[in-house]
Amino acid sequence: MTREDAKKNVRVFLFFAGVTFALFIVRYLVSFFVINYGWLMGIDVRNHDFIRFYYEEGQKVFSLQTMWLRWDASVYKDIALRGYEWAGEETFKYSRHGWFPLYSYTVGMLVRILPFYNLEAWVVYAGVFLSNFSFALSLFVLYLICKELNVSQKAMKLFFAIFILYPWNYFFTLFYSESFYLLLTSLCFYFLLKGWYLYAVIFCALSLATRPTSLSLAITVALWIFYKDWLAGSFLKLKILLKICAKYLIYFLIGVTPVFIYFSHMKVITGDFFAVTKWHNIRNHNPRPFRIFIRWYEENPFDMRWGSVFNLVLLILSFYWLGKNWRLIRSPYTLAYLSAFLYTFLLSSNGTPDSLTRYMGVNFALFMLYAIYGSLGKMGGCKLGVVLAIMFLLQNIFLAFHVGGVAFYSF
């Protein structure tokens, strides 16, 4: 890498960091119109928050902390503070084990290293910081991937504009593992493309300790490395074959180590090495492919959230674009696409519709990258501007209505 390249990379990273910060500010300003409910978070926000706009009987609170602490975020926070020890009712005994530990563990370590006294509050800020920083960094890694794939400048700009304004990337700002996971998977793909497999395996292992659905990524990485070695004819010579076997053994050990540690931890605190696999049964979930769509229509036939529909349309479009560029399907990069597909539709099909779109958001970068690659020429600047404006508007309407729930009705 030349000095000029390095300077350019620094500029690009600073640009992405600025964009992330701007998004954070915009979302925060939107939160002025959102009423959050303190009890959802299980924390007493009265004492700990930086900024409080409105308070009434301990229930309705405008706050930075609660704004970034919705849904599963309270679980991540709890794990970061207290680990997985759970002595509640049997029904919920395993309920946290599906949230893999690396993100919460990193936040917990970060807070414990720094001299913060009020952990309950600072763990939230540390988590939000880690999420936003990871998002900025993963944008930069995606930029490097684009360069590695020789994506044109125009296509690259479109890709980043859509990715940044994509409504569900709101979760990248929250106290959620999504952006951290995105960073790890992006790094994994980047090193795969570069051919530096050791680092790819390390980041794959770390992503597996962050979200269980990364199993599909692990399969993809294994197939990819095997495919490359096969193409190189490495299995034909005995000496090289031995070397490769040793290499595979090391990769395997690296891959399973974080998960092994997590499972061993579970063994110590619950007495069950495979406690992680049981939480679905206990919560009466019944994971099976495409279940989400079935349940969706069974339970809420008329309750289609526009966000989910929007994501579905994008997904179909990406398939359409990919189909038009059939040549790409025969490239090894198809494995990455396969991974994204497996991830979204097979492994993640037991959540709610919103969760599904959120999961899609994590791998949205990869979807869009393969979709846009080589297909931009037909889209004019005017159309692009309209699309971006609509997305930006939708993003903030989503934030105000969807996140705030009944915010406007309360006024």
């Binding site: 299980g42 924390i43 007493d44 503070l81 207290r82 680990g83 997985y84 020890e85 759970w86 002595a87 509640g88 414990r112 006294y117 009020n118 952990l119 309950e120 050791l198 680092y199 390390i202 000496k239 090289i240 070397k243 090391i250 690296i254 180590t257 974080p258 540690i261 061993s264 931890h265 063994k267 110590v268 605190i269």
Partner: protein
């Protein structure tokens, strides 16, 4: 480097050496995490179980009263030992357990918040005005103990205080010994 595979070539390869270093650091970190999250916790649990067995001998259990006490169970706490003492209990804190007596005077909460930064494995509660003088406390290693005078001036239910503190504590492995000199209740609870 002539491209021919032999041990010397591999060993002199800087890239290879760096990769070995990375793998070494990776497993070193993994080992550290394994020790912290698996080995240390296992050892801690064993220590605590031994301690509980010792503690049980010191408490004279009254089955009927214990059942009654279960009704005011603290939310989120698992009761490990519960009973009523009929004699003045001697509590021997084994080495390695740090002890905190929690102060409920609001004026001193600020100080205690900072104290709670220190991982507290053991907390003693009492809602007695007499407080500490009720008990003979002995420590194998007194320098490990952190004691604070404790008095419930406002008669705040101890369960409320425990609940509020349970959400602030650092470690998941927190056990609480609960003494109520008024009713004679003794219990050890594990916070979730």
């Amino acid at each position: 480097m002539d491209g021919k595979f032999n041990v010397c070539n591999v060993m002199l390869n800087k890239k290879f050496l760096f990769e070995v270093f990375v793998v070494f650091v990776y497993f070193l970190l993994a080992g550290f995490v394994y020790y912290r999250e698996v080995v240390a916790i296992k050892a801690y649990k064993k220590d605590f179980t031994d301690y509980l067995l010792e503690y049980k001998d010191l408490v004279e259990f009254d089955q009927e009263k214990s059942l009654k006490a279960n009704q005011e169970r603290v939310c989120g706490a698992e009761v490990l030992v519960e009973g009523y003492y009929s004699k003045r209990p001697r509590i021997k804190i084994p080495s390695g357990f740090k002890t905190l007596l929690v102060e409920t005077d609001p004026a001193r909460l600020e100080i205690l918040d900072k104290k709670l930064r220190i991982p507290a494995q053991f907390i003693l509660f009492t809602n007695s005005d007499v407080g500490l003088s009720m008990f003979d406390l002995s420590f194998e290693k007194p320098e490990h103990a952190q004691l604070h005078a404790c008095a419930y001036k406002d008669k705040i239910p101890a369960s409320d205080i425990m609940k509020s503190y349970s959400s602030r504590l650092l470690e998941s492995q927190v056990y609480v010994a609960f003494f109520d000199s008024g009713t004679g209740q003794v219990s050890i609870k594990r916070l979730r």
